[in-house]
Assembly symmetry: C2
DNA sequence: CAAACATTAAATGTAAGACATATGAAAATT
DNA sequence: AATTTTCATATGTCTTACATTTAATGTTTG
């Protein structure tokens, strides 16, 4: 693991890569302490700042954590679901916003994956999950809500649905799909009428999950997808119209 | 964006965070050049190494790329699907291996998500996707194959299935779910009998997709999930047995 | 003897200055 | 006019130094 070619380009990247491989392969165990920066710089025959750059790269991926002080150092980090969530979300969000992914494509992916959670969530959702969903539905029906707050509540509702499946791996995977849609959804101006429609559909979903009826939940999600897609189309059409005027 | 509290802890993390926010919020556009390291260090009132550590953090997330030379510098990077894939995969793999996720949980998540692709893939898969799947099935029926190679081919088969849905966002999301399972699958010793069974099930999936029959593909995936789960249980049981002996 | 306090050592965090190297653009030469 | 040379700029790296945090050690005192 501790080798380094003579290639004098991007030493810090190479070192980061070597350590990363050690972690992935299991040669470095969780909570194990890496050698100190001084020792690493000796091992790799580079200066301490170079080692530090490498360590910062790994810290950015939550692969290590550092601690100051006498017993400090860099430790292999047990990547938590929370950290993985947030990385997933930033990556997904940027991927969508930077690559001109169409509303349809993102929407299709999101609902296809979410529908995969529906039958599991119908079986396993707890009273807690249902309560969260009902609370978000109630919030969504408040008249004074801004569009952003409405979207945020929408995300919270859908997260409760996904978490109801009781499978943390699915929650993690879905985090990206659900949250990354929010910027796209934020572009939509929700009329009173459309909010009402969405609240109704959310209610149908919650009812189905409460009745442990996965099929009905799936159907409601399909309807919601269709409706959301329609809203998106309207917005895009209006934008095209405005562009034509200008 | 260019502010920094007096908190003298983790300056490089704060700077990275500030720039990251700028990218996410859209204040910094793709391909836009950041100020030079010297300028940044002046703006933030820190030294150049500190700025560099911050930039390396961002580079590790593929948020920026750097270029040497006269017109060089740090540029906001358009995160490609490829890069997002590989980040997804390392994060997912580590998350699973470090958090004692059970084989059942991972398996359930993977097949639930994969089944979400089935109906879309039945509609849209190209001849290319089918050819890849057939080729992998053929490879899987070769007798001399190692277990690792068998698993790798399995992953390739399932990726073709997922890609067949023609939705890059789904392919991205699924990359983690499918590839992160591989280390868990690699622990399984595949007998000739079990390989035969899996190849048969893969054949059924390919047939269903060729016939554009999403329902049949879904059923075959369900069977495959059940069978895989059974294999996993056998392995775990044998391990427990061996532990009891020792 | 024990507890509170001070000291110390080891590690990361930050700074400053220097040199190496890559690279595009301008200037000089043929 | 085309080619070569020079040069300025920016990143990549090294060296050295100091600041800060933190736990262990040593010391003093009740």
């Amino acid at each position: 693991m501790k080798i380094d070619p003579e290639n004098p380009a991007d030493l810090s990247a190479q070192i980061a890569s070597a350590i990363r491989d050690g972690i992935i392969s299991g040669a470095l165990i969780v909570d194990q302490r890496l050698p100190s920066e001084a020792e690493l710089s000796e091992q790799f025959n580079v200066s301490r700042p170079t080692v530090r750059e490498a360590l910062k790269r790994l810290a950015a991926q939550s692969l290590i954590r550092t601690q100051r002080g006498a017993t400090g150092g860099a430790f292999v980090n047990r990547i938590s679901f929370e950290e993985a969530y947030s990385q997933q979300i930033t990556t997904s969000t940027l991927l969508l916003s930077m690559n001109a992914v169409s509303f349809e494509t993102a929407c299709e992916a999101r609902y296809a994956l979410e529908r995969a959670c529906a039958p599991l969530s119908a079986k396993r959702r707890t009273a807690d999950h249902l309560a969260t969903m009902r609370a978000e539905i109630h919030r969504q029906s408040q008249p004074g809500l801004t569009d952003e707050a409405f979207c945020a509540s929408d995300v919270a509702f859908h997260r409760a649905l996904v978490d109801g499946a009781g499978n943390p791996v699915m929650s993690y995977q879905l985090a990206g799909a659900v949250e990354a849609m929010q910027p796209l959804m934020n572009m939509i101006t929700f009329t009173a009428r459309s909010r009402e429609e969405i609240v109704t559909l959310h209610g149908r979903i919650a009812d189905a999950l409460e009745a442990a009826d996965g099929t009905r939940a799936d159907a409601a999600l399909c309807d919601l997808e269709r409706y959301t897609l329609g809203l998106g189309h309207d917005v895009m059409a209006k934008r095209a119209e405005n562009r034509a005027k200008a």
